[in-house]
Subunit: 187 residues, 2 copies
DNA sequence: TATAGCATGTAATTAGTTACATGATTAA
DNA sequence: TTAATCATGTAACTAATTACATGCTATA
């Protein structure tokens, strides 16, 4: 087996989005902004150059398009592109996972604060996740519609994952607030 | 009120670690690697230059030190540094939160897979979080000891947060696997 | 005496965001 | 006619990782 060139994650985002029926850089970015950005972001500065690279590599095929009135460059997957996507989706490589959470970082250092400030720290984390949960709920109806129209399930399942994640943190915060509050009263 | 210069998050990691009793760049990095890296990473390439900047800014004070046999540069917080840390910890600015999760990204595109491959996708996510959970459990005893020795609570609380997060994802995966498995049997 | 761990640092690279430029079309 | 949206792109910047260089000390 020859060593296949490995691609940036942005490349797979593009291949995946084309497989889900998007056609242009703009459409890909629009969908990213209401879906994968919660667990994988991508900017124009990544998407457009990557589209060119993928075309050069023969994984996607682009053509000038005027079907929507506006002129635009629409892409579709080639057989090689579909295979590359499938290989990535089913590969057993270690999954990249990174988390940056300023709230938890602050919590880590919160021993230097007063009990009231400590409580507020956790409240702020909770509120941040409640806000995200709200955002996800607002996305849900549109996602449900789009999923049904295209016969998809996994975009919605992913949204459910996101809500479950928010809920878990919210619950943890609620518990921690109660315990910390109780401890503060005793003292 | 004058507009205080705002610092990189690495700066706050350093100030916080000094407040918790670390003294050198090496010690800070060592603790980061078994604690904050799960929600906020930092490399030598960030830490050492930032230590110099912070000293220049008067937030920390460094001196040559030989107490441990080896020569090293140990730092402590100045009053200004302690205040800067406190301001950040109690500020109401929007918390930076970023998540990159390749497993969930793959899940998002999994409509193109067979039912068995879809199931495997979720299993891989679960396994990744089980492995992280395991790592956190291994860190726990040492963290408990260190916390007790120093009279700290929040480092352990943060660890508990991390475990709760892993558990929530593991539970979600278990449920999703069951539902997907059941649906596959019907078909 | 050799290996592991303590300790400090930087150069080179890669990744990623931000901001801007440009222009067309559609809907209010 | 004007604002919003569709659409493509890049230059400049900032952040971050990786890999390397260096050398000491404690321990097996």
């Amino acid at each position: 087996m020859e060593p296949r060139a490995d691609h940036s994650k942005t490349a797979y985002v593009i291949l995946g989005m084309l497989a889900l029926g998007r056609q242009t850089g703009y459409e890909i970015k629009s969908l990213v902004d209401i879906s994968t950005r919660f667990f994988w972001a991508a900017s124009y500065g990544q998407i457009y150059p990557e589209l060119k690279r993928l075309e050069q590599a023969g994984l996607i095929r682009g053509k000038e398009d005027r079907t929507n009135g506006r002129k635009r460059r629409s892409y579709e997957l080639t057989a090689a592109g579909r295979e590359t996507l499938h290989d990535w989706l089913t590969s057993d490589e270690l999954l990249v996972r990174e988390l940056r959470h300023e709230g938890v970082l602050k919590l880590f250092f919160s021993d230097v604060l007063t009990p009231e400030e400590q409580l507020e720290q956790i409240r702020r984390i909770r509120r941040a996740h409640e806000a995200t949960r709200q955002q996800l709920e607002e996305i849900a109806p549109g996602a449900r519609e789009a999923d049904e129209a295209r016969g998809l399930r996994f975009t919605l399942l992913t949204l459910d994952w996101g809500i479950a994640y928010q809920d878990a943190i919210i619950d943890w915060c609620t518990r921690a607030e109660r315990e910390l509050g109780a401890a503060a009263l005793e003292a």
